[in-house]
Amino acid sequence: MEKERRPKNIFVQGPISPESIAKSIANHGSKTDIGGHSIFLGQVRADAKAEGNVIAIDYSAYEAMALEKAFEIREAVFAKYPLNCMHIYHSLGEVKVGELCLFVFTSSKHRKAAMDACDELVERIKAELPVWGKEILDTQGHVWKLNT
């Protein structure tokens, strides 16, 4: 039966826990046609800005649009690469430096598809999802994150 595809939530309140990532990896143990996984983890960096040092990022999103866009990206990447599985999680709210804010996980029969798809997903997520990071500084001020 063709699996029904519809937008699903990608947002997690606060940081993404390493335990949830380990659990997600473990959940694939029963899918024995998978030969390779690729994982990208985004971590909040303690950048030094002219106005102060970053101690956290407060993420906000236009959630309804972001979920539609994420679904469109997911469908396009599934169509382009022979993937068995794809998971995307992005934080909302405050994530402190050293904590994880993005988890992208792709699996395929052979490694190349998983690796290329993961890379493409990360690039498209950063460029196309209406999500914003407010960098909280140790000087009590903030600056708006810019993606490069």
Binding site: Y62, M65, K126, P130, V131, W132, K134, W144, N147
Partner: protein
């Protein structure tokens, strides 16, 4: 009864204009809406942002449907 447009603002744009949600009387197209917004909020001239109509990014002048949801979106910085 005049129809309205619902406007949501995000990130730096919401910060600049001091609100993240408002309703205004219907305006016919996206160019006219931008003009009206710049008059109402001159501070918008100093920020870069895009418009979305009903969750679709606007790239050229577009008609605004009745009761549309408009979003003012500063450059994305997720991840």
């Amino acid at each position: 009864m005049p129809t309205t447009i619902h406007i949501k603002a995000f990130g730096m744009v919401a910060e600049k204009i001091g609100t993240n949600e408002m309703s205004i009387d219907h305006i016919g197209d996206s160019v006219k809406l931008l003009d009206a917004l710049l008059v109402k909020f001159p501070e918008l001239k100093t920020v870069k942002f895009s418009l979305a109509i009903n969750k679709m990014l606007v790239s050229e002048n577009q008609k605004i449907p009745e009761n549309a949801e408009i979003a003012l979106l500063p450059p994305f910085s997720g991840g």
